[in-house]
């Protein structure tokens, strides 16, 4: 019984790790490779989750639905709906540098959340959309295979992109924008492309999340779960390194889950609220990582400088 419970928890845990790993990969495209400070992940996450929720659920009077489309169509829909939104956001914020981009993106994410909260005809407001089915009638175990396949595909795509000339231009923009511009690259276009691709990967993660949990409501897309955890994962794992992003997802979820146990050990009278204590711990942990190891667990491997020998 113990073992079975543990196994079930492990399946649940690994599913979430996979979903967050996809989002960390998307963020790595934007921040790790291009240096775009997007803290509006929750917005694209929400767009992806709600799109597939609306496309794949049965008819209801409470929200726009009843399309009953299959799982894969829902996911494709998530990415396709995110595409124009990300493009528009990217265009608006194209000229903004780090801090401004950060403020603008978190604002957009909050507006998207407010939109889903207030437009009840579309999303059933605070009550959310229940009854989103897993594909092919699988349980958590079967779904893990689906998630793992998507993680693998995303990693492959992002890694190919990173090694391609296109990825080299992105990293060049991150490291030295004027020099890249002088080399004749259209910086605005490359940045917009990276932003859109990264955001669509986040929307894919959102779609997978919706099918896994089976229920979406605006609560899930608050900045803490939607944005902050993904950032912690990327920074802890090592930004710029795709394997690091995925390792970060695993490690941070491990820590996040163990804070649950840790919070269970400390008497409630001492900490007031368990969930608050967990957030407190994860915040402190991030500060420690940032202060002691800002480059992350797996730092980015930089190509050797001309004339420098590989060691």
């Amino acid at each position: 019984m113990e073992l079975a419970g543990l196994g079930a928890y492990a399946l649940f845990f690994l599913n979430l790790v996979g979903i967050y790993a996809i989002m960390a990969l998307g963020l790595n495209m934007q921040w790790g490779m291009t240096g775009q400070f997007n803290i509006g992940i929750a917005g694209f996450f929400a767009v992806g989750a709600y799109t597939t929720a609306i496309l794949t659920t049965g008819p209801s009077d409470n929200w726009l639905g009843g399309f009953n489309l299959p799982f894969l169509v829902g996911l494709v829909g998530s990415v396709l709906v995110c595409l124009p939104i990300a493009w528009a956001v990217g265009r608006i914020t194209a000229r903004l540098r780090t801090d401004y981009l950060a403020i603008a993106t978190i604002g957009i994410a909050e507006i998207i959340r407010l939109f889903f909260l207030n437009e009840g005809w579309l999303s059933n407001g605070t009550r959310g959309i229940p009854g989103i089915q897993k594909p092919f009638g699988v349980g958590n175990g079967g779904y893990l295979i689906v998630v793992a396949a998507f993680v693998g595909l995303t990693w492959l795509a992002v890694e190919i992109a990173r090694r391609s000339p296109w990825g080299r231009v992105l990293r060049a923009i991150r490291d030295n924008e004027p020099a890249t511009a002088a080399a004749g690259k259209d910086i605005a276009r490359f940045r917009l492309q990276a932003f859109v691709v990264g955001s669509c990967i986040m929307a894919l993660g959102g779609g997978l999340y919706a099918h896994f949990v089976g229920f979406v409501s605006p609560e899930a897309f608050r900045p803490l779960y939607g944005t902050f955890l993904v950032w912690v994962m990327l920074i802890a794992g090592g930004s710029g390194n795709n394997l690091g992003a995925m390792l970060g997802a695993l490690v941070v979820w491990l820590i996040w889950s163990s804070t649950e146990m840790l919070a269970g050990l400390v008497p409630t009278a001492l900490i007031g609220s368990e969930s608050a204590f967990r957030v407190f711990l994860i915040g402190i942990l991030l500060q420690i990582i940032l202060v002691s190891r800002p480059q992350g667990l797996l730092p980015e491997k930089r190509p050797p400088m001309p004339g420098e020998h590989r060691r």
Binding site: F37, I39, I92, T93, R95, L96, T98, D99, Y100, A102, I103, A104, I106, G107, I108, E110, I111, L114, L117, N118, L224, F228, W231, I235, I271, G272, S273, S275, A276, F277, R278, V279, F280, I282, G283, I284, L286, Q287, L290, V291, P294
Partner: protein, 286 residues
């Protein structure tokens, strides 16, 4: 028309709270070059410090205000010394993420210590004054006067004291200020003192106007940043103006669109500013 004037009064009230927050945020942005994402939660914790003073010593809120300002200023300096100071030289963005983490730590700390339910400084209903068809609570007048006094105080500090001038110099041109021998570390410390104290005041006023809640500061963070950007980054006077404009716009927008979209209005103004006049109304420094 009456509704318009009433909303304008509410807007000016919200605007003065936003202005107090924005002055601190803009000075931190100007001197340290990063958007301080924990500013809203610094406001909230200031409000809760005052709550403790009010309930423990049974004092009126305005008497608790200086204590809360002092404690929050100390807390802000402490956070800077423990966290931000160590990563100031790494990368500005790491600072930004660290401030995001600080925001979460502060907010969960509030939830752990004071609980996450709504609280008020004084129970019971305050009888509003009726001036013709308009209503005005005595607290509102108090907030407005106290905010004005604080803003004048900041103005005197920035223009009359050596430290204030040094602060403005660093915000204007960091390198030039450093070669003239301005003690950067002390200026940074004073920036946190002022920013923290003003944030606490804004939080206390917000708590007087509405109620205390752990996310009360976080929800105001975006409007505060909007005010900062609208006023021009690193410009305290611009931030005051920006705060009033954003506050009034948010309240008046309820005439046209649902009230739940109020934060979106602040953000829309911010985006338009960023696109058409990125330097702000008064030309910013960053």
């Amino acid at each position: 028309m009456i509704e318009f004037i009433q909303l304008l009064i509410n807007g000016i009230l919200l605007g003065s709270i936003l202005a107090l927050g924005a002055v601190g945020a803009t000075m931190i942005f100007g001197v340290l070059r990063f958007a301080h994402f924990a500013h809203g939660d610094l406001m909230a914790i200031g409000a809760y410090f005052a709550l403790t003073v009010v309930t423990v010593f049974n004092l009126p809120v305005l008497a608790a205000l200086p204590v809360a300002m002092l404690l929050t200023a100390g807390l802000a300096v402490g956070i800077d010394q423990v966290v931000y100071r160590r990563i100031r030289r790494v990368q500005p963005v790491i600072l930004l993420i660290a401030s995001f983490a600080t925001a979460l730590v502060l907010r969960s700390f509030i939830q752990m210590v004071w609980g996450s339910s709504n609280q008020v400084y004084q129970t019971g209903i305050q009888l509003p004054w009726r001036i013709g068809p308009l209503t005005l609570k005595p607290d509102h007048l108090l907030i407005f006067i106290a905010a004005t006094v604080l803003v004048i105080g900041v103005h005197l500090f920035l223009t009359r004291t050596k430290m204030g001038k040094a602060m403005r110099a660093m915000s204007d041109n960091m390198n030039l200020a450093l070669v003239t021998g301005i003690p950067a570390d002390r200026v940074i410390m004073w920036t946190w003192v002022i920013g923290g104290a003003l944030a606490a005041a804004a939080g206390v006023f917000l708590g007087m106007d509405t109620r205390l809640h752990p996310v009360m500061g976080w929800t105001l963070l975006l409007p505060i940043f909007a005010a900062t950007i609208l006023g021009g980054i690193g410009r305290p006077y611009g931030a005051i103006l920006g705060g009033l404009v954003i506050g009034c716009a948010m309240e008046l927008s309820t005439l046209i669109i649902p009230g739940s979209y109020k934060p979106a209005v602040a953000f829309a103004i911010m985006v338009v500013t960023l696109i058409f006049r990125p330097q702000g109304i008064i030309k910013g420094s960053v």
